[in-house]
Subunit: 249 residues, 2 copies
């Protein structure tokens, strides 16, 4: 029996989030991964621990999981065997043996997320699966300026609550920047922190969209950050624009 | 009653192609568009003529349709009303009144398609919805060189049959080029012609993949083009990588 670490990519559109739930909530990414693990383990259940509990409809390019398994055929064969038992919306990118004490969530030193806004007047079925469509035109420069108020170690209570009951809301944001592609119609927000509060990225993006739409100025966004008051920030932006890009160890 | 021209984008993954079929074949893009048209026309059926009969699983960013409708509220309201009656995988991008003699297929002067290859070792649920994943590494330069044999007016019988029974297989290819993005993992083939044979782009890409994989040389690809012999080309590449980008008038 050894512990394995695997990187997982998924299209979250049709899943009730990462974390296993009561069956009525719908299929989950963890549930599908554990089914694939059981299938290659002679039907015996295997628990897959994840680094981040992504919400319903949120995607991942680099979720990390760990599990204990008796496996004698090497990690390439392990990756292939898992992929052969997963739906096409979930894939194991790579797998490696890791230390028995490794836990994808508690061992993580940081996480990187991307949030995509499609700033376009017309619906786009080819792009809205992975982006939040917003119109009219957003002021991308004002959003970039406001994002700088996120940098550093501070109380982000304005944007969410701790995943632990009673946990504190101090986090360290190490990167918060925007870039654009596709003739500036796609605005991508890149954010890295040691850890995130529940719905933190989506609440930040919802509030930055106020800045982009000219409803508040960049320094008013800074005031909202500083207030740590959940009632002052916007509702979370929709889940389809969000992607867990990487977990750092 | 006036004739309208509309540009339509769709994610073809879950459709049995553009063209209306027997119900057992599954939902079609034309069927969904005609349902939306009937819904805004008091339940009275409206025929939507399309520019290109995209196959099962093929996408479109710029399909063009035409239909006759009594509509008194302007084209912006028409676009909104249709979108309100369409599934999220199909969208009307714009609509305009056009001449009564306009037919999206017979009036078209050209079509542009894009075919996306994801040249990567690992499965990618976030990208394979819109790309054909191929591994090992392809020789992109050899594929670009081979593509030049497609240019010009010639018999493309090696890559498909006419959509008309007994129709000829001469077409004029005006553009055939590759570009790369996403660290060269995404290889995009751009092709424009006056018109296309059935499955022509996918058969060309399947055969160019032979070149990229080193199975045949670029000049051997030229020989296959010149032969106009369907038995010498590859099977069509999968539909999910193909997108009808634009119809030219």
């Amino acid at each position: 029996m050894a512990r394995y670490k695997a990187v997982v990519e998924y299209d979250g559109t049709d899943y009730a989030g990462f974390q296993r739930q009561i069956p009525e909530a719908g299929p989950t990414v963890q549930g599908e991964l554990e089914s694939a693990l059981a299938a290659i383990n002679g039907g015996v259940a295997v628990t897959a621990h994840g680094a981040g509990r992504t919400d319903t409809g949120v995607h991942a390019a680099g979720q990390v999981i760990a599990f204990d398994l008796q496996w004698a055929h090497g990690t390439d064969a392990l990756t292939r065997a898992l992929n052969a038992n997963l739906p096409r919306t979930i894939a194991v990118k790579s797998a490696a043996e890791c230390a028995a004490g490794f836990h994808p969530r508690f061992s993580a030193k940081g996480r990187r997320y991307r949030y995509a806004i499609l700033n376009a007047p017309a619906r786009s079925p080819l792009r809205e699966r992975f982006a939040w469509r917003v119109w009219p035109l957003l002021d991308a420069r004002a959003m970039a300026e406001a994002s700088q108020y996120l940098m550093g170690r501070k109380d982000f209570g304005a944007f969410g609550s701790s995943p632990e009951p009673g946990g504190h809301t101090v986090r360290e944001v190490r990167e918060a920047r925007w870039d654009a592609d596709d003739d500036n119609a796609m605005l991508n927000f890149h954010i890295e922190a040691d850890a995130f509060l529940r719905r933190m990225v989506r609440s930040i993006v919802g509030t930055l969209k106020w800045v982009g739409a000219g409803e508040i100025a960049p320094d008013a966004f800074g005031d909202i950050v500083a207030s740590a008051d959940r009632s002052r920030a916007a509702a979370p932006a929709p889940p389809n624009g969000l992607c867990l890009v990487e977990v750092l160890y």
